[in-house]
């Protein structure tokens, strides 16, 4: 019988739910491993899982400075989609979406992946033309996309303000039906659960404070729980990338850390049944299974390592929510928080070997790293196991910036806060 199944839920339910065991062990670090992953966020845990599952590398440790889920994996607005224009991104994110579709089964852990659709609203005709182009590019890449006119949008999302006297009237939209949301904490716990069962040591409260070098080669890490050796060390620390890589002697990277805020309202009866994004500004909203409206918008827009932002963005994002759903005007905001984003110079990620021998880098996730979690772990594990990238992440190099091979989806150039 699988550890988590309808039968185990029934059995534990009938015995007072007293028999559940912690879902991952709390081992002490061993002196050495075949591979170490720095950072126990979604990407680090997924990497360890796929190293163990796909590449049979099981003598692996994930080192997390705090507890699992304290970083961006537990702070995002949970949107999963693959509606990209450029081939490199489209194919990578589509593979990630395919992994999402089987993830709860692969992990034997319910990540509550819900393919409720992502609807991008167009608020002027030029934007609708652009969405038509994007939809066609997606379909050429084998990805589902539908261009919708306001009457179809009204059926799909009844609460939305579609009146033509709105300040920014909706002229149409692009729907990706297979996109949706997932429960973010369960993604961290699920990957931890499944990796642990394959023998991976997940070590919390273990900060990497330095790297052990033999010449140029990285051969281990110094941590708050002692020195640990490994021939292969993958770094997946999201917003902390620059600070952690500095400890390995890499002083400059094409990355800036910025704060992104998110908001949740008090719970409501079902109002929004897909993910909606506002086209005249930058706002995305969905309704959680508990009923809260979960929404966010742009970065605060300045370099930041503080997991909290400022009021102008609160005002701006709330205004945009009301432009779409005026009926949410009296709903109270319950909570807001921030996370530190690893904004890359072209808005696309880095999943690569290097920049030093023995080291592997996973970073540059910008707003989009939650949906990438399984795909990123899968590609990073391949890169670490084979010492070369998979075709899906071959373009996501660190060198591409100096080589002029940017993957700039938004076309905004080397200004990280605009991606």
């Amino acid at each position: 019988m699988a550890e988590y199944s309808i039968w185990s839920v029934l059995r534990h339910g009938l015995t007072g739910n007293k028999g559940w065991k912690p879902t991952w062990r709390k081992p002490d670090p061993k002196p050495s491993y075949d591979a170490i992953i720095v950072g126990g966020g979604g990407h680090g845990l997924a990497t360890a899982f796929y190293l163990a599952k796909e590449h049979k590398i099981r003598n692996v440790a994930v080192l997390e400075r705090g507890w699992l889920g304290q970083g961006n994996i537990g702070r995002n607005t949970t949107i999963v989609r693959s509606n990209y224009l450029l081939d490199e991104n489209a194919q990578f994110y589509e593979w990630s979406l395919k992994l999402w579709e089987g993830l709860s089964h692969a992990l034997n852990y319910n990540v509550m992946f819900s393919q409720r659709g992502v609807l991008n609203l167009a608020n002027n005709p030029a934007q609708l033309d652009q969405f038509a182009e994007r939809g066609n590019a997606m379909r050429l890449n084998g990805i589902d996309a539908e261009l919708l006119m306001p009457d179809a949008i009204a059926k799909l999302c009844p609460g939305l303000d579609l009146s033509q006297n709105a300040r920014f009237p909706v002229v149409g939209g692009l729907l990706q039906p297979r996109a949706g949301t997932a429960r973010h904490d369960a993604v961290a716990w699920g990957f931890a659960h499944a990796a642990d069962r394959l023998g991976v040591d997940i070590i919390e409260n273990c900060e990497v404070v330095g790297f052990v070098k033999e010449g140029e080669r990285i051969t281990g890490v110094e941590t708050t729980r002692g020195r640990i050796a490994a021939p292969k060390i993958g770094v997946a620390v999201a917003g902390m990338t620059s600070e952690v890589m500095r400890r390995a002697g890499i002083t400059k990277l094409p990355i800036e850390s910025h704060v992104l805020q998110a908001f949740v309202t008090e719970p409501l009866k079902p109002l929004i049944n897909c993910v909606v994004t506002f086209g005249a500004g930058h706002m995305y909203v969905s309704q959680s299974d508990k009923g809260g409206l979960v929404f966010g918008g742009s970065l605060d827009g300045y370099n930041s390592y503080a997991q909290r932002g400022n009021l102008p963005i609160v005002h701006e994002v709330a205004t945009e929510l009301l432009a779409c759903f005026p009926n949410a005007g009296k709903v109270r905001l319950l909570r807001s928080w921030g996370g530190i984003m690893d904004m890359s110079m072209d808005g696309s990620p880095i999943i690569a070997k290097g920049p030093l021998p023995g080291l592997y880098l996973n970073s540059g996730w910008c707003y989009g790293g939650f949906k990438a979690t399984p795909g990123s772990g899968w590609c990073f594990a391949h890169t670490i196991a084979h010492d070369e990238p998979h075709a899906l992440n071959a373009a996501f190099t660190l060198e591409r910036f100096h080589e002029g091979r940017h993957i700039d989806e938004a076309g905004t150039g080397a200004t990280p806060r605009l991606h």
Binding site: M240, S242, T251, K252, P254, I255, S257, N303, Y305, T415
Partner: protein
């Protein structure tokens, strides 16, 4: 965040546009090394802590300035004008 504009006094950061890391130096136009230009455009130290950064008081006096701000606490500790209206930099031993 309040930014102490040397012209207008303390003003909300919403009145300003952010211009990024002020320690990144633009190569001179004579520079011919592609690496030097790529480093200028793409590579950042991205420190946690003290940061020197450009802000433009677009909804105020429209001056550019270098602001000292801590990226971990958001505490702003100073601002000085740059460009045509900047105070001349005093070299040590000038006076």
């Amino acid at each position: 965040m309040l930014i102490p504009c040397p012209v207008c006094g303390p003003r909300d950061h919403e009145e300003f546009a952010y211009g990024g890391d002020a320690t990144v130096a633009r190569p001179t136009i004579a520079e011919q090394s592609a690496t030097a230009w790529a480093t200028f455009v793409y590579d950042r130290t991205n420190p946690k802590g003290a940061h020197q950064e450009h802000w433009h008081h677009v909804h105020g006096c429209r001056q550019w300035m270098v602001v000292s701000r801590d990226t971990e606490t958001h505490a702003v500790t100073g601002a000085r004008l740059i460009g045509a209206w900047a105070e001349p930099e005093t070299e040590p031993g000038d006076d």
